[in-house]
Symmetry: C2
Subunit: 501 residues, 2 copies
C-alpha cells in the first residue's frame, strides 16, 4: 500500500506541473493531447517500477531528527541537507550550498546557520522555469508526547505513513524530486531552493533571496511551495498564510531555586510574576488583550466573504477530529476566518519551572514563558513586537517586582496573501479541474510559511502554494502522517483522463 | 577538611545526646563529670580514627538517586533503605522492614510503597530510650538545573560537601549512626525509624505510627528529628514546622497537541485556561486569594512575638544570600513570620506544556499546573483542600471552557508547634548552652516535616527537632551542601568544655 500511494503522490505532481507548464506557457492549448497522454503513460510506468525506492528514501529521511527549534540539533539539520544534496546530484542536478551567516540565540550566543541548498537541472532556454521550495527540518517529537509509533521510524498503519516530517515537509520535498526523476524529458526547467530552518522562521533566507534575486531567481517564472495541507477532503489552492512572532518572557529572580517551605511567603516568585504577565495577554474568548495589536487587521470584503461559502468544511466533523466540545466560534465561516484571516495568540509553555511528573516543592529562580501571535494582513510584526513589549512592561510595573523582566521575540514572519487573478493561480485552478474534475477550494493557511510572502515581495515572481498533504495529517502533532486517501482519488482521475483521450 | 568536619558533626551529636540523656534522666546531675569527660575523649578518638569511613559512607549514599517525587525512582529509594539497614546490622542493630501498603498515583494507578525501617540496638531497661527519625529519599536534581558539581557525586569545595541529600537528610542520618557506632557503652537506648518518602509527604508513616504505637513506641521516652537547619550562624532548637498541601490542576482539552497556526484562534486552549486558574491564586504581594483559606491562622501572642527579637537574623545578609533586591516584607521580624508562622502559596510549574529550550508552536492538549500551600496552626489541610477546589471550580466556570478541569491534592501534612516548656526542650536548651556556651535560638521551620506533628499527636511522646545543618545549606536547591563552619565552632566549645573539667 505504502509503495502505491507514493506513486500516486508523485503522479499527481507530475500531472500537476505538466499542466502548470502547458497552462502557463500557452493558456489556450490543452494538456490532454496524445503527446501528453503518451508521456504520462511512460512516466507512470517509471514511477510504478521505482515505488519501493521512493518509500525507502522517505523512511531514511524521517530517521534524521532535524529539529531546528533546538540549535543543538542543527548538526542533524545539516545532515539531512547533505542527504538532499546527494539525491539531487545523483539525479544529475548541480547543487550549491549558500552560506546564510550566523544567528544570535536568546542567550546572546552567536552560532553559524545551516546553509541553504540552491540546485538546478540542465536548462533549456525555450522552456519556462519552475522553482520548487521546500524544507527538510522538523518540529520536535518524542514517544512521551503520545506518539503511537516511533516518530523517527516511518511506520505504516492502514495506509497512513506515520513519522515526524512525513507531511511537513520531507514527504512533499521527496515527492517533487521523484516527479523530476521520473521524467525522460521534463517540460519545464527546474530549480530547487531547500532550507533547514523553516520551523524557526527561515533565518537568513530573506537576505539570501535578496542576494540571489538577480542571479538564481533571474530566469525563474514560477515559484511553487507545497508546505501545507488541504482544508477538507477536496483539492485546494492556497492564497494566504498567517505571519507569526514568537515571544520569550523571561523573569529572573533569586540566585538559586529555593525550597518553597524555607522561602515561600517572603519572596516575590518569578513564577507568579510570569503567570500574571501571561494572564494579561488574552481573555477566555481568545481575544488578544494587548492594546492596539489588532487595529491593522484588514476588513473583510464581500468578495472574500463569498469564498468561504464554497468550502466543504463540516463543523461537526472538525469538532470530532479536534476532540473539542465546541470551538470559540459558532459557524463554519467564523471558525475558518479565526484560523485563516484573523490573528491569534497561543501560550506554548514555560521553561525553567518544574515540568516533570511527580511533585517538587521548588521556587524556580528563573522562568521563561513562551507564546506566539499569528498575524494577518495588514499587521506588521515589528509593530506587534513593540506593542507586546510595551504591554508586558506596563503590566510588570504594576507587580512592583524585585525580579528582572526580559522580553525577546524571534521569527516575526509577515502574513501573506496572493492575488487570485495571477496567471499561476488561473493555471493552478485549471490543473485541479482537469486532474480532479472538480473546482478547487480557494483556501488560506493559518500557519506560517514566511517565504511565500518573502519570495513574492522580493522577487516579484508568481508564487503559488500547491498543497499535497491531507487535512488530517497532523503537522506539528503527535502521529504526524501522510494519508493515502487524498492521493487515491487523483488516481481515478488520472485513469479517466488518460483513457478518455 | 571534609573528614575533619564529619568528625565534628558526629562529636556534636555524641555530646548532644549524652547531655540529653543526663539532662533528661536526672536534671540536677551535671554531664560535666570526669566520667563523662573521659568517655568523650575515648569517643572522639574513635571518631578521629574513622573519619575517612564516615565521609566515604556519605559519598556512597549520595550516589543513590532516591528521588521519591517520581514514583518510577522508588526502586532507588528501596536501594538506599537497604544500604541503611545493612549499616545498622553491621553495627549490631536489628532491623525490621515495616510494610506501609500501597499508594494511588494521580493517574489512578496503584503502586506498592517502599517499606519503613524500624531498628533498635540491645536494650537496657534502666536507661531512657531515644528514638531517632530520619529519611533517605531526596528531591530531584540534575546538572541542567544549574549545579556546579554532579549532584550525585559528593564533591568538596572549600570545606563544603556538595551533593543532593548532603544536608536533607542523608548526612544527618549518617551522623546519628556514626555517633551511635562511636560509643562503647551508649548512655541511652537507641531506636531508629528511617523512611524513604519524606519528600512526598511520608505516605503510610502516619498509619504505621498508629499501628506500632503500643509496640515499637511503647518504651520510647524521647523522639528526636534532625531534618532541618539553623536559621542563622547560631545554634538553634526548632519548635514548629509548616504543613503543606500539593495541588495538581489538570486542564484537559483537544484530542491531540495541535499546530498553533492551524488551530490557533478557534480553540479555547487548555494552557490559557490554566494560566487564568493559576493567576487567581495569589496577588503580587504574596496574599493568597482563595476565599477563607487564611481565616484559621493563629493570632500572634506577645510571648511569641518576643521570641523573634532574639534571633540574630541579618536582613541585608539574607537578601544577598537569596540574591533578591527586597523581600515581600520590610523588617526582619515580618520576613521570619512570613517564612515560619504565616501561610504561603508557591506555583512550582506546569507539566504537559512545552518546557524545553528553543521554540515549539504547539497548543498542548493537556496541561497540569502544580502549586503548594504551606500551612500553619490552626489551618486544617482537608479544609484548605476543599476551599481551593471550590475556588478553582468557581473561576473555571467563569471561563465557559469546553475543556475538562480536574483538581487533585497530595500530601496534606498538618503544621506542627511544640510546647517550649516540655522537659526535652528544657534539656535541649541546656545542652546547647553547655556545648556552645550560648543561648539557643528558638526557631520555627517554614518547610514541612509532617512526622513531627504526627509523632507528637499519635504517640504523645516528647518530640524535639535538633537541627544539624547550616542556614545556607540549600536543601532542595542547586548545590545543596553540608557546610563545615557550623560544626567548627562546636569543636572549640567541646575543647573548652573538656579542658574546663
Amino acid at each position: 500500500m505504502d509503495t502505491l500511494f507514493v506513486g500516486i503522490m508523485t503522479k499527481f505532481i507530475v500531472v500537476a506541473f505538466l499542466l502548470l507548464h502547458t497552462s502557463a506557457s500557452s493558456p489556450s492549448s490543452s494538456s490532454s493531447s496524445p503527446g501528453a497522454a503518451g508521456m504520462l503513460k511512460q512516466l507512470f510506468q517509471y514511477i510504478d517500477d521505482h515505488q519501493n525506492q521512493f518509500v525507502q528514501r522517505l523512511r531514511e529521511w524521517v530517521t534524521v531528527q532535524s529539529n531546528s527549534g533546538d540549535h543543538t540539533k542543527w548538526g542533524e539539520v545539516e545532515r539531512i541537507l547533505n542527504m538532499t544534496a546527494v539525491r539531487i546530484q545523483e539525479m544529475g542536478g548541480t547543487v550549491d550550498f549558500a552560506d546564510v551567516g550566523t544567528h544570535q540565540l536568546p542567550s546572546g550566543e552567536t552560532v553559524p546557520l545551516p546553509p541553504v541548498i540552491l540546485a538546478e537541472f540542465e536548462r533549456d532556454p525555450k522552456k519556462a522555469t519552475l522553482c520548487i521550495y521546500g524544507h527538510v527540518d522538523v518540529q520536535p517529537a518524542k514517544m512521551a508526547d503520545g506518539w503511537t509509533t516511533d516518530p523517527f521510524n516511518l511506520t505504516e498503519i492502514k495506509g497512513n505513513l506515520y513519522g515526524r516530517g512525513a507531511t511537513d515537509n520531507k514527504g512533499p520535498v521527496l515527492a517533487w524530486l521523484h516527479a523530476v526523476e521520473s521524467y525522460q524529458e521534463i517540460p519545464v526547467n527546474i530549480k530547487l531552493i531547500i532550507e533547514g530552518l523553516e520551523e524557526v522562521g527561515s533565518y537568513g533566507l530573506l537576505e539570501l533571496t535578496r542576494k540571489i534575486n538577480d542571479s538564481f531567481f533571474a530566469d525563474v517564472d514560477f515559484i511553487v511551495i507545497s508546505d501545507n495541507v488541504w482544508a477538507t477532503r477536496n483539492p485546494a489552492l492556497t492564497y494566504g498564510t498567517r505571519g507569526s512572532s514568537y515571544f520569550f518572557v523571561e523573569v529572573d529572580g533569586p540566585k538559586l531555586d529555593f525550597h518553597s517551605g524555607v522561602y515561600g511567603g517572603s519572596i516575590q516568585e518569578p513564577m507568579s510574576d510570569l503567570i500574571a504577565l501571561l494572564g494579561s495577554l488574552l481573555d477566555h474568548t481568545g481575544k488578544i488583550l494587548v492594546p492596539g495589536v489588532t487595529d491593522d487587521v484588514a476588513p473583510l470584503t464581500e468578495d472574500e466573504r463569498k469564498l468561504y461559502d464554497n468550502i466543504s468544511f463540516d463543523l461537526e466533523e472538525m469538532k470530532s477530529v479536534a476532540g473539542v466540545k465546541h470551538f470559540l466560534q459558532d459557524t463554519k465561516e467564523e471558525v475558518l476566518m479565526a484560523r485563516w484571516r484573523n490573528p491569534s495568540l497561543s501560550i506554548h509553555g514555560i521553561q525553567g519551572a518544574f515540568s516533570e511528573p511527580g511533585t517538587k516543592t521548588v521556587i524556580p529562580k528563573q522562568v521563561t514563558g513562551k507564546f506566539s501571535i499569528r498575524q494577518v494582513p495588514n499587521m506588521d510584526p515589528p509593530d506587534v513586537e513593540r506593542k507586546v513589549k510595551e504591554h508586558l512592561l506596563q503590566v510588570f510595573s504594576t507587580l512592583k517586582s524585585p525580579n528582572r523582566l526580559r522580553v525577546t521575540a524571534t521569527v516575526g514572519a509577515k502574513p501573506w496573501v496572493a492575488n487570485l487573478k495571477d496567471p499561476q493561480y488561473v493555471a493552478g485552478q485549471r490543473a485541479v479541474r482537469e486532474v480532479f474534475g472538480v473546482e478547487p477550494e480557494l483556501i488560506r493557511e493559518g500557519s506560517t510559511i514566511p517565504i511565500a510572502q518573502n519570495f513574492q515581495e522580493e522577487t516579484g515572481k508568481s508564487v503559488m502554494m500547491l498543497p499535497i498533504g491531507g487535512h488530517d495529517d497532523g503537522e506539528h502533532s503527535q502521529n504526524e502522517k501522510i494519508n493515502r486517501i487524498p492521493y487515491v482519488s487523483p488516481l481515478n482521475s488520472f485513469e479517466f483522463f488518460l483513457h478518455s483521450r
